[in-house]
């Protein structure tokens, strides 16, 4: 698994400690936490909005809240769940204000994006990016939180502030649509190196 996916207990403990120090006004800890999250959030949000400037704005709005509210973090969830929950709310507003509407994409997308077998992982990633654009934003975020960032169903529910059954339903519909747009997803493959 890549660094983007679920991280172990030691990482969680380290981030807890960083948040505790941020709560005490420690700028170094804040910068360290920012660096830990910037890359995966930048990728997640750029994929979502197609705009790095919007991604950057969401990241900074999120960490502005982290700086101010670290003292309220009770450790009842993992730090990543807390931080991404803030990012989710910021991203949703930013997405609505800035991004293309999925409905617009639906009109231009064919039933099946391509029947070709992607030659490389990069090609498949491009196709998948287009297919993701066809999904309503809540489904897209659930997809990215699950497959890209590797969160559990319960964590996604906490991040998106919804019941676990809603997460399952969102993914169920997203999967059906992705499968229809990209039938190649179900074809057994040996690797998707870029």
């Amino acid at each position: 698994m890549t660094e983007a996916t679920y991280r172990g207990t030691a990482t969680v403990a380290r981030e807890m400690e960083l948040i505790r120090r941020v709560a005490a006004g420690d700028r170094r800890a804040f910068e360290e936490l920012y660096h830990l999250y910037h890359r995966r959030m930048a990728r997640f949000l750029t994929r979502l909005t197609h705009r790095y400037d919007v991604a950057e704005e969401v990241i900074n709005d999120t960490f502005w809240v982290v700086w101010r509210k670290a003292g309220d973090f009770r450790g009842e969830s993992a730090p990543s769940t807390w931080i991404l929950g803030i990012a989710y709310r910021k991203a949703r507003s930013a997405f609505r204000a800035n991004a293309r509407r999925p409905e617009e994409n639906l009109e231009v997308l064919p039933d099946v994006l391509t029947h070709e077998t992607p030659a490389t992982g990069a090609e498949l990633r491009d196709w998948l990016g287009q297919a993701l654009d066809a999904l309503p934003v809540e489904q897209r975020m659930a997809v990215q939180l699950c497959y890209e960032l590797g969160h559990s169903c319960e964590e996604i529910a906490a991040i998106m502030n919804c019941p676990v059954n809603t997460v399952k339903t969102r993914l169920f519909h997203a999967r059906a649509k992705l499968q229809r747009l990209l039938p190649q997803l179900a074809e057994p493959r040996t690797g998707t190196a870029p």
């Binding site: 698994m1 709560a23 006004g25 920012y34 910037h38 990728r43 900074n60 964590e155 993914l171 999967r175």
Partner: protein, 218 residues
């Protein structure tokens, strides 16, 4: 014994079997179902492809430094957030460091020595600090009994009308101001009154004397 997991529930759980986030019993149940269900087995493959594709290394490098710089400028331009809640929580873990505790003990000893020598006025605190800030103090530094539970620290501060404004992680010395001063810096008289209120509580272990308290008032 529970009934085996049905196709529908297994299907719903496949994303987390693919991303490695199903644990224990549920994972075993889904795996057992997938083993005997070709539809789920095929879908699991698709789910794994999704994971691999969305997690594959980026072709873009995101540089955090310029973004962080913007954010820090923004934080600098705004008033500091209230750090009250966390300070109290921090107390729980803050009773260990020997450095400042040792210093406080040393300072107390010096203070007692002075008292015995009769050079110290009775109403003055039983300690002095070796280094004293030149500027007028705006914050009062205090330490509590080490065994004091966090709830009681909060209670002591509340009863004395104090609000915590400083306290680095790892230290057991807190910077407090009168709770009713708001954003304005506390005056010397207010700090002195607060120190007197805190001193009445036996759970307060140490209070840094105000610069002006070391000498008689003019």
């Amino acid at each position: 014994m529970r009934a085996p997991l049905g196709h529908e529930e297994s299907w719903l759980q496949l994303p987390w079997l693919a991303n490695g986030r199903l644990s224990g019993e549920l994972r075993a149940e889904v795996e057992a179902h997938v083993h005997g269900c070709s539809d789920c087995a095929l879908e699991l493959e698709a789910q794994r492809t999704l994971c691999r594709t969305l997690q594959s290394p980026d072709t873009v490098t995101y540089a955090p430094a310029p973004s962080l710089r913007k954010l820090l400028q923004r934080l600098d331009a705004e008033p500091a957030p209230r750090r009250e809640t966390l300070r109290r929580r921090e107390v729980r873990r803050a009773w260990r460091p020997p450095g400042l505790a040792w210093a406080a003990t040393f300072v107390l000893t010096v203070g007692l020595g002075l008292l015995v020598a009769g050079t110290y006025h009775w109403s003055q605190p039983l300690y002095v600090t070796a280094t004293r800030p030149a500027a007028a103090p705006t914050v009062l530094h205090v330490a509590f009994e080490r065994s004091l539970p966090v709830g009681e620290v909060g209670e002591v501060l509340q009863r004395a009308g104090a609000r915590v404004v400083e306290g680095e992680g790892g230290s057991d010395v807190f910077g407090v101001v009168p709770a009713d001063t708001g954003a304005a810096p506390a005056g010397r008289a207010q700090l002195r009154a607060l120190a007197a209120r805190l001193r009445r509580d036996p759970r307060v272990r140490w209070i840094e004397p105000l610069a002006s308290d070391a000498q008689p008032e003019p």
